[in-house]
Amino acid sequence: MSITVEVTYDMSKALGVRSFAVDGVRTVQDVVRMTRDRFGPERGDAFETLTRVAAVSVNGVLINHRDGLRTALADGDTVTFLKAAAGG
């Protein structure tokens, strides 16, 4: 099962990537863990810091409106880490 992970601007700059694919995950928690493993050692606390202020969506829907980190994923889903609020 392949999941696309997207990160928005500040995270993208810090992590050096806009999007990437992860395989073998079942929930958003798995994606967070795998992403942390992927970037943690190389980029210090950047991912930890960013995920404390970034909201997470699955296919455009915030996980807080679904099952939080336990939100189940299906093949082809997109998980996005986004800035929680902006004025526009």
Binding site: E6, T8, Y9, D10, S12, R18, T51, R52, V53, A54, A55, V56, S57, N59, G60, V61, L62, I63, N64, H65, G68, L69, D77, T80, L82, K83, A84, A85, A86, G87, G88
Partner: protein
């Protein structure tokens, strides 16, 4: 006279070149505040049904409110009201810049322009002397809005039109400094009067009921705003374009004429990208506003200009699938200089591209391709060739060329850059807002999709109630006249600082979306002023304003607008969304589009309207709406 008002209405007859000052009606001011509310009352009373919006019988009203002329943050805006040549219903638009300040300095609350001049003219108003000069403007006719303003007296404050207004483009706007009263074609009405520019000044100061309290409170509030995550940080750093990545991640940024809600290259259009690659300063903000959401960028061959706003980026960037911020900035500048609304313009371009894609029209425009766009924008403003059809707006184009199923408008007004399939309350707001599909007449999306504390945007909870409260509040805000961004300050810094994935955050949003009747009840309490705009109004006017007062006044204005539209032939059937929005899905878990049919009856009932969407006599009497 109630404090905060200049106490004067100026009426200018452009056919006879005569003018008269008359006193502001205090009773109307108490019922409608000023700005959009007061002007809508005048429009309703001054006009008979079914007038030609581009004919001599359509008056054009510029209206300030009691907060204009003060140093309250975000308070120098004016409203323009008339019958819309784009929708055929109520037309209005609000604008920042500095013209409102000039009007109040000139001692004018409302400026009414009637009939039409036989040839191009401009008005020069000296508020202190009480004189109005009607000056031939052949030398300015044809000039862009920037060149026009540069040619006028630098000591005065101006509102001008560009070639789009002159050529009656149905979504032409009126420009003050680098801001535009863009929506519903108010610039075309000014053009129909052959009025190129209005200049005004004077030396009057705002007379307040309690200037000391106002000063002390405003000083404190400026500090609060400076420290606010949106007003003092996000908007200050990224402008409104700071929202691009959020709407993209939430699948509501218009893409490919609203076929999709996600654009793969949106990051290249974001405020963050603009800050890093294009930003050269922040001069282009409204007078006395500490938020400074304007972004200055460089446009090749022009120089330093106001950068594109979120709406412009959404409609002319992602919606056309063109991830080129330089190009969008160039088109934004062109549209401002020619005097056109970029929301309608972007939607017209996207609709044209889809017609082309389907082989229904040859316009030489293609999604993802910037070639030809600049020329078409100029052709629209000058109504050259096919540009003349595009100048009519999406609704009329779809009637001529077909494609009504993907014509993205409500009541003839093109939708803003928030796809309601991921923001259900915003969809109800689009469907029911009297001027048509616009976000700034309520901005429910801020509490659904873009703010720090968003309810689930895709269930039915609160989706009928929230638009009502927001529309009422927006009517009041647009009558003071304040910037809607002031409401972003209501959510305090502490909430912004919550982890958005935390249980506390989840509990708060769940409680909010389940608050239904309680929410409306709390908002309707008439007590003491709590929020800043309630306090400002109270300190300035000497009358008491609380949330309940503003909800009642806002509902009165909203219902009067509704009655105007009904008088002009609109019915409940016009409270709808584009077929694409209702029937096509943009979310993986949805099989259809926006569930408007499940929400509209509840909305009508909560509004006190009958099943056909007509306000009941009881509702009108309760709100004291005379029709």
């Amino acid at each position: 006279m109630i404090k905060g008002y200049a106490g004067r209405i100026l009426e200018v007859d452009l056919a006879s070149r005569t003018f008269a000052f008359r006193p502001l009606d205090e009773d109307i001011a108490r019922l409608y505040i000023g700005g959009k509310g007061y002007a809508t009352r005048l429009l309703y009373d001054m006009t008979r049904p079914r007038i030609d919006p581009l004919g001599p019988d359509n008056p054009l009203l510029f209206a300030t409110g009691p907060l204009n002329g003060s140093v309250a943050p975000q308070s120098n805006r004016f409203a323009v009201v008339c019958k819309s040549p784009l929708t055929g219903g109520i037309g209005n638009a609000a604008c920042g810049g500095s013209f409102a300040y000039g009007m109040k300095r000139g001692g004018i609350d409302i400026l009414i322009l009637t009939h039409q001049s036989p040839k191009p003219v401009r008005l020069d108003i000296d508020g202190d002397r009480g004189t109005v000069a009607c000056i031939d403007a052949d030398d300015l006719w044809g000039k862009g809005t920037y060149a026009t303003q540069a040619a006028l007296d630098a000591k005065k404050y101006h509102a001008v039109i560009g070639p789009a207004g002159e050529n009656l483009v149905r979504y032409a706007g009126i420009v003050s400094d680098e801001r535009i009263a863009g929506r519903t074609g108010v610039g075309a009405v000014m053009g129909s009067k052959r009025l190129k520019a209005i200049s005004v000044n004077g030396s009057r100061k705002l007379d307040m009921d309690d200037p000391e309290k106002f000063k002390e409170y405003t000083k404190w509030l400026r500090e609060l705003f400076r420290d606010h995550p949106v007003l003092g940080s996000s908007l200050k750093r990224f402008g409104t374009a700071g929202i691009v990545n959020t709407t993209n991640a939430r699948n509501i940024i218009p893409t490919h004429n609203f076929k999709y809600g996600h654009f793969k290259d949106a990051m290249s259009l974001s405020g963050e990208y603009m800050e890093e690659h294009e930003l050269v300063g922040v001069k282009s903000s409204c007078i006395h506003c500490p938020v400074t959401c304007g972004r200055d960028v460089m446009v090749e061959g022009v120089g330093r200009v106001k950068g594109p706003e979120y709406e412009t980026i959404g409609l002319m960037g992602s919606n056309l699938e063109i991830p080129d911020l330089k190009k969008v900035a160039e088109w934004s500048y062109l549209a401002d200089d020619l005097g056109m609304d970029t929301i309608s313009l972007g939607s017209v371009l996207a609709f044209t591209m889809e017609l082309q894609e389907r082989g229904m029209l040859y316009a030489g425009l293609h999604f993802g391709d910037a070639a030809g766009v600049s020329d078409v924008i100029k052709d629209i403003a000058h109504r050259r060739g096919l540009g003349s059809d595009l100048a009519e707006g999406v609704k009329r184009m779809s009637e001529k060329y077909g494609g009504q199923e993907f014509a993205i408008h409500v009541k003839g007004l093109e939708l803003s850059a928030y796809d309601p399939r991921g923001s259900f309350a915003q969809g109800v707001e689009y469907a029911t807002t009297n001027r048509g599909g616009c976000h700034i007449q309520g901005a429910s999306m801020y509490l659904e999709s873009t703010g720090p504390l968003t309810i689930n945007p895709q269930n039915l909870k609160l989706k009928a109630e929230l638009p009502i409260v927001q529309q009422n509040l927006a009517c009041a805000i647009n009558s003071m006249v304040l910037c809607m961004f002031t409401t972003y300050g209501i959510i305090p810094k502490a909430v912004h600082n919550l982890n958005p994935n935390s249980i506390v955050h989840r509990l708060l949003t769940t409680a909010f979306e389940n608050s239904g009747p309680l929410f409306r009840t709390v908002m309707s309490i008439k007590g003491r002023p709590l929020l800043w705009f309630e306090k400002w109004l109270t300190y300035i006017t000497g009358e008491t304003f609380s949330s309940g007062h503003l909800q009642e006044i806002g509902a009165r204005i909203f219902n009067l607008e509704r009655m105007y539209n009904l008088r002009e032939g609109f019915t409940g059937k016009d409270d709808t969304l584009p077929p694409r929005i209702l029937h096509e899905s943009t979310f993986k878990h949805m099989s259809s589009g926006h569930p408007l049919d499940q929400l509209l009856p509840r909305y009508y009932q909560k509004r006190g309207w009958d099943a056909d969407g007509v306000p009941t006599r009881r509702t009108l009497e309760r709100l004291r709406v005379k029709v």
